[in-house]
Amino acid sequence: MDYQSIVSGSTAAGCGPAECDQAIFTSIRSRVGQGYRLVSASPGLTAEEKREITRRCPSHGNLCADGEEASAVSGYPLPGGRHCVALSRHAGLEHTARGGLRVHTAVVVLDAAGYAAFDCDPLRVQRAVAAFGAEILDNPPPVLPKLRLEAGPQRLQGPSEAAEHALYLLSALLCGRRLVVIGAADGLELARVLIAGLPVCTRRRLAVSIGLKFAPTRQMDLSIVDRDEGETRRLLRGQDIELYDLADPPGRAASAFDPWISFIERMWLRAQHADLQALTRRIDESAGAQTLARITALCAGLERLPRCDLPELTKILQTIGPTTGQTQVERDLAAAVLAAAEERQARLEQAPPRPAPAPMPAAAPAPARSR
């Protein structure tokens, strides 16, 4: 099913470069201070945004991995409607040399349109920043220029690890649960799959970190950490945050989002990743359980229509109820269902009547019974 041609309207995705503010959060000694703080920023950052970035950026010893090459990505909404994507790396010894490596976090801030150009996917923004190739400066200037980032092509692929992990986590995120995930072989890959399965309006409000140690003050909806030696479990006690251990996962309970989750699973199995991308990109108004269930039903109808008979066609048309059409994507899908149903009905009505089956030859009389 070609959802890309069905769901109409232009999107900001892939529409030219996005202009971003940027900032650097790290520990250096300068004339006006020392220690972890925002050492550089472009002039467009507001005080509220700086406050939020300071709260969420990692300080000393807060990357999951210890080595020089360790890195982490985080993305979260900011007060005022913009979005922050942060790339954290180790950058040599910290200037007080009290053990551990300095954490350097490069931050970009995009407005709603700019974030939509990246499909509200912080990992796509992170790849664009990495492609920009900015080096870590020991003494960055206090004022930074704006950046122009271009969204590159997105790798479309289903989950490489067992899909049931991703399906569980998707269901939990859609239900609004906060999660800490441990044991992923590739945290970035897991995050990519999860983000691809979420409607864009859910991605827009999602706070996610990959490769940062869990910290309650970071207020992430999804934290993917490398491993846990018990400390994360201890911190999560009594919090409304669920720990998901890939080595010991809980069973998935039924939820109102099950129709959407089953739909995602079918799309992955059929490798219809481009169609999934087109569809999730257009679900930008509401991602409640009922909306997603209606969308799923409309998509299922579209898939069945080319082969269905008249009774089933009637049933499919009944999925277009009075509440369908509340969002643009539903209206587009409903219009496609109607058009396809008309075409199917016409085809069924024009089809030559099936020939009556040939009469069965008369049965030979039964032999008389001998007494």
């Binding site: 807060n62 910290e94 040399a97 910290a215 009594g238 919090q239 409304d240």
Partner: protein
């Protein structure tokens, strides 16, 4: 107790939590603090040690707690909960290996907290319950620069019954103004927490501790004069807005050496031995004011 606490109410931010919470879900303070307070049936008094990043708060507080544990200064002190010993153990262990302890992260759940029963070893002396957090200097700086960045700091300072403000005397004595500016901002922030009291000075006991005074021994001779001469902005705001301030000098490291990192780009200070001086006096004064 002056008010009824519940085991699910955070001692610092007074927000509700679940019964099995280890940390407060709002400010990341340990929930053991309120449980201990309820168990002792006494109000815990918060004494905050504040100062700029790298001034030596962790080392100062670690040694202070260790001295109290060893009944220095005629004090008897009992830690409540094994977590209360973590800070002094970390500091003493590192210093014994000629290393300064690791930098305190800005993430509040990684701060050390000490809850101690303390009393003078004299007839009739009352037990006092003290909560002393080891806050990150960068978190303090961020909160001062943009209030409400870290609400836990505001709550801690507002509830503090005594405050020790550590200032880098060594840097100040070399003519750099950075310690003076930080101290001024810190005092101004504390002053601004009481908006309805513009005509009355703040009477919370404030001990101004001149750290690393081994670099400038004159600070031991007359801490007041040292502050007036080298930290004049701090001196002036203390005079104008704070009615209960005392000045002290302190030093922890007896001698210090310097090494370079393998790449030669960083100078690493090595504490060769400790020689504690002036660590108890600010604490004794704060206790006498409570």
């Amino acid at each position: 107790m002056t008010h009824t606490l519940s085991e699910t109410t955070c001692l610092i931010c007074e927000q509700e939590n679940q019964p099995d919470a280890v940390l407060c879900g709002h400010c990341s303070a340990p929930m053991d603090l309120v449980r201990e307070t309820i168990a002792q049936q006494r109000d815990a008094r918060i004494v905050s040690v504040i100062g700029e990043s790298n001034v030596g708060k962790t080392v100062f507080l670690g040694f202070l707690l260790d001295m109290l544990s060893q009944r220095a200064g005629d004090f008897e002190a009992i830690p409540r909960g094994p977590y209360s010993v973590d800070l002094q153990q970390a500091v003493i262990s590192h210093m014994a290996h000629r290393m300064f302890p690791p930098k305190t992260p800005m993430e509040a759940h990684e701060w050390y907290w000490a809850y101690y029963h303390v009393r003078r070893n004299r007839p009739g002396a009352q037990w006092v319950d003290l909560v002393m957090p080891d806050m990150a200097g960068e978190s303090l700086a961020a909160e001062v620069a943009t209030p409400e960045t870290f609400q836990i700091i505001r709550n801690l300072l507002y509830k503090s019954r005594g405050i020790l403000l550590l200032v880098d005397a060594a840097v100040a004595s070399n003519g750099f103004a950075q310690p003076d500016f930080f101290a001024l901002k810190m005092m101004s922030y504390i002053d601004s927490m009481y908006p309805g009291r513009r005509d009355k000075p703040i009477d919370t006991p404030m001990a101004i501790v001149l750290c690393k005074a081994d670099y400038c021994p004159e600070a031991f001779d007359d801490p007041r004069q040292f502050v007036e001469a080298n930290l004049n902005r701090l001196w002036n705001i203390c005079e104008s807005r704070f009615s209960n301030v005392e000045f002290f000098a302190a030093s922890v490291v007896g001698s210090i050496g310097y090494a370079t990192s393998v790449d030669g780009e960083h100078v690493i200070p090595i504490p060769l031995h400790t020689a504690l001086r002036g660590v108890m006096e600010p604490f004794e004064w704060i206790i006498s004011q409570l």
